[in-house]
């Protein structure tokens, strides 16, 4: 359990305390990752199934490693078809996997609400690894973990999130978690990529990059997906990169020297981030990847009901 929650599907439903419970535990989990023998027996005998309906290497691997470091068994189930018009329905697939008695089902799906649908039909815990444009809770948590690590706290900090907010589940989870931890969030992108009513989540909206990033303590640059350019939200990547991409010159002129740059990956180099910025001193992108494993260990540990006797070992 994470606070009151059996599942980790939506940070909108999590309280500040529940978010902090994961982030605090993730500190000890990260310590385990620094050891020469990266294995603790906390989830020995537990099993985690990764059910992925969308291509993903990094998130799936991250969950898989997190499970294995905790000694849980991990099974990957990848389905190329996320359409239910033919073949087995999502509910049937989930029930079949559930019959194999996993402790946690990690699901990624192109439809918003799919993890909720699964959670309504199975008995085990469900973790969303991203559903449509709804949420990507573990990413939201790992972004917060990274910001706490780099900035000490999110209280009173300003975070700019730049890119295609309308299609971004990362942006939604970030907004929910960051605002609950006391940060103010600025959203920036072309007006076509700002979804209706997003201000209601407690963020401000900006169309000019400079206005959004100046004075910010952190900037989250989102991936501009080439495959969505057919849905004509922008004229193309050329103008996007010029107006909303971050390069060394803009970073030097507009960003505070202490500002950190995040990206959920994979990066489109030269579109939203120039290579010098992505690899530069302000970038914490690779820290995010490592922190992702620690945060996912914490989520799995809490939901799979890790053995309390072994917990000390993880925390030791």
């Amino acid at each position: 359990m994470i606070g009151r929650h059996k599942h980790c599907i939506s940070l909108a439903e999590y309280s500040r305390e529940e978010i902090l419970e994961v982030l605090d535990l993730a500190v000890s989990m990260k310590e385990v990752l620094q050891r020469p023998i990266k294995k603790v027996p906390s989830l020995r005998g537990k099993s985690v199934v990764n059910l992925f309906f969308e291509a993903s290497t990094r998130t799936r691997s991250s969950f898989e490693i997190a499970a294995k470091v905790l000694s849980a068994d991990a099974l990957n189930w990848t389905s190329s078809s996320s359409s239910v018009t033919k073949g087995e329905t999502l509910v049937d697939t989930a029930k079949n996997l559930e019959a194999m008695r996993p402790d946690v089902l990690v699901i990624r799906h192109s439809a918003g609400g799919a993890p909720k649908l699964v959670a309504d039909h199975v008995g085990c815990s469900v973790v969303s690894a991203g559903d449509g444009a709804h949420e990507h809770p573990s990413q939201g948590l790992l972004d917060c973990f990274t910001l706490r690590e780099k900035l000490g706290t999110l209280e009173g900090k300003t975070v700019a999130i730049v890119g295609d907010i309308s299609h971004s589940r990362v942006a939604r989870s970030d907004i929910h978690a960051m605002t609950k931890l006391g940060a103010s969030v600025r959203l920036c992108g072309p007006p076509t990529m700002i979804p209706a009513g997003i201000e209601a989540l407690g963020a401000t909206v900006h169309y000019q990059l400079r206005e959004a990033v100046e004075g910010a303590d952190a900037v989250v640059m989102l991936r501009i997906q080439h495959e969505r350019i057919g849905d004509p939200l922008i004229p193309g990547t050329r103008e996007y990169s010029k107006l909303w991409g971050l390069n060394a010159k803009k970073a030097a002129e507009w960003l505070r020297p202490s500002c950190v740059i995040l990206h959920p990956g994979p990066i489109n180099r030269g579109v939203e981030l120039s290579p010098e910025v992505a690899d530069g001193p302000q970038s914490v992108i690779l820290d995010q990847v490592q922190n992702g494993v620690a945060v996912r260990m914490a989520i799995l540990y809490l939901l799979a009901g890790g053995n309390p006797a072994d917990a000390g070992e993880a925390k030791a």
Binding site: A12, S83, V84, T85, T89, L90, V91, H109, S110, A111, G112, G113, A114, K116, L117, D131, G132, A133, H134, E135, S166, R169, R172, P195, A196, G197, I198, A200, L201, D231
Partner: protein
């Protein structure tokens, strides 16, 4: 021969004849014989005690999907007509998007034959505007009218071609048939699955702006002005549509419109509160609170003529899936009255206007008989208990399908008896189940 019915002590609300008060209704030979304050019970009559109840003309629903032929696992003409009378509806207009589409006399005749055999509500088939409802060629309106169709529609999809819509409006004039149109610009809809706004943004679901409906309503009003003919806008959901129809009526255009109980009662925030329940997915989608307010005002001021359910049964196969993948539509026949009565309690609608929009309003829109208790009219009557409180138990619904957002909800107001052509076809608490 149906027996003579003597319905006494009820409050008769018949907006068509301006009646609202305690009256006795006598039904004889399938017709309304008399509605009077003091009248002796004929010796051969069966007395029905309607004290504390409303006695209204049977409701008329301009918009239902009975799924037969082709999708009988969702509903049949018989189960749909049975559900109708359970909700107080004595006549329903069956949309043509069956499999095959009702674009020819044989489908129309099949629907009519099934309805006659079932013997519950009257079923009025609606024929297709275009062959196969594919928006390319006009269907044969003469044949459809002769076979028994009462209106024309490609419901389920818009008539995308402005040129075809123009010709349909023109051609229909020879037959006096109303065109009832499903208005959405499919390009603006895109892959949208719910109303565009803060709720859709939170849920990460693709939005459909109200403008997707507005632009098509505005187009068809412009065409109506060009061609003449009779236009009826199905399931109005956006404030822009309400405004456009109000203005068109003021200019004297022959336009009528309907609104569903769910577009009057629920908003996009209810979709969010339901946690992606596909019982809240329909087309047009549940809209914002300000759209709902505009629809309520439009109904109250007569801009919207009728309440129609858009009864759209679906099985678990279509509904127990991801929100994105789920079929659009909910059932409505068995919940329309209590859901709309709640609007009266909320002060959004008068009792008279509510009954009007369920009876004479829809009758006039399609030029149907009925909708009144005037002497000589067909003996189609609903007896309603406005105070009855009940919980909607899906297992006790007459429709074959259970896709309703009011499942398990407490409702107030219930139809207790329905009479079609002088014959009692539904009596609550005395059922064949």
């Amino acid at each position: 021969m149906a027996e003579v019915l003597f319905i006494e002590g009820g409050r008769v609300i018949d907006p068509a004849s301006g009646t609202d008060g305690v009256r006795t209704v006598i039904l004889r030979d399938g017709k309304v014989a008399e509605v009077a304050e003091r009248v002796e019970k004929p010796r051969d009559a069966r007395a029905i005690d309607a004290r504390g109840k409303w006695v209204t003309p049977g409701f008329i629903d301009l918009h239902v999907h009975l799924r037969e032929p082709g999708q009988e696992y969702k509903e049949t003409v018989a189960t749909g007509a049975r559900a109708a009378v359970a909700g107080g509806f004595t006549a329903v207009c069956a949309m043509p998007n069956t499999k095959p589409v009702n674009d020819n006399a044989s489908v129309t005749e099949l629907v009519l034959a099934r309805a006659a055999a079932a013997g519950f509500a009257r079923v009025h088939p609606v024929g297709a505007i275009s062959k196969g409802s594919n928006g390319e060629e006009l269907a044969e309106y003469g044949e459809l009218l002769a076979a028994g169709c009462v209106a024309l529609s490609d419901d389920g999809r818009p008539v995308l071609s402005s040129a075809l819509m123009r010709r349909a409006l023109e051609y229909s004039k020879a037959f006096g048939l109303t065109l009832t149109v499903h208005e959405e610009d499919l390009q603006l809809v895109g892959k949208g699955v719910m109303h565009e706004g803060a709720a859709a943004t939170r849920l990460g679901l693709k939005g459909i702006p109200g403008a997707a409906e507005d632009v098509m309503v505005l187009r068809d009003l412009a065409l109506l002005e060009l061609t003449g003919g009779r236009l009826h806008v199905a399931h109005v959901s956006s404030r822009g549509s309400v405004r456009a129809i109000r203005e068109a009526k003021a200019r004297g255009l022959a336009v009528t419109a309907e609104v569903t109980p769910h577009h009057l009662a629920l908003t996009d925030e209810d979709v969010a509160a339901s946690g992606y329940s596909t019982d809240f997915k329909m087309n047009p989608p549940l809209r914002s609170a300000s759209d709902v307010q505009a629809c309520r005002e439009g109904l109250a001021d007569g801009t919207l003529d009728a309440i129609a359910t858009d009864h759209a049964p679906h099985s678990a196969v279509e509904k127990d899936v991801e929100f994105d993948a789920a079929a659009n539509g909910i059932t409505g026949l068995e919940t329309a009255f209590p859901v709309c009565l709640a609007l009266v309690r909320a002060g959004a609608l008068t009792e008279r206007r509510l009954v009007e929009a369920l009876t004479i309003g829809p009758a006039r829109a399609f030029g149907l008989a009925g909708g009144t208790l005037a002497a000589g009219a067909a003996a189609d009557v609903a007896v309603l208990d406005p105070k009855a409180e009940w919980i909607l138990d899906p297992a006790r619904m007459y429709s074959k399908s259970r896709n309703t957002p009011w499942k398990g909800k407490r409702l107030a107001g219930r139809c207790v008896m329905t009479i079609v052509g002088g014959r009692i076809v539904h009596e609550e608490g005395r059922t064949e189940r």
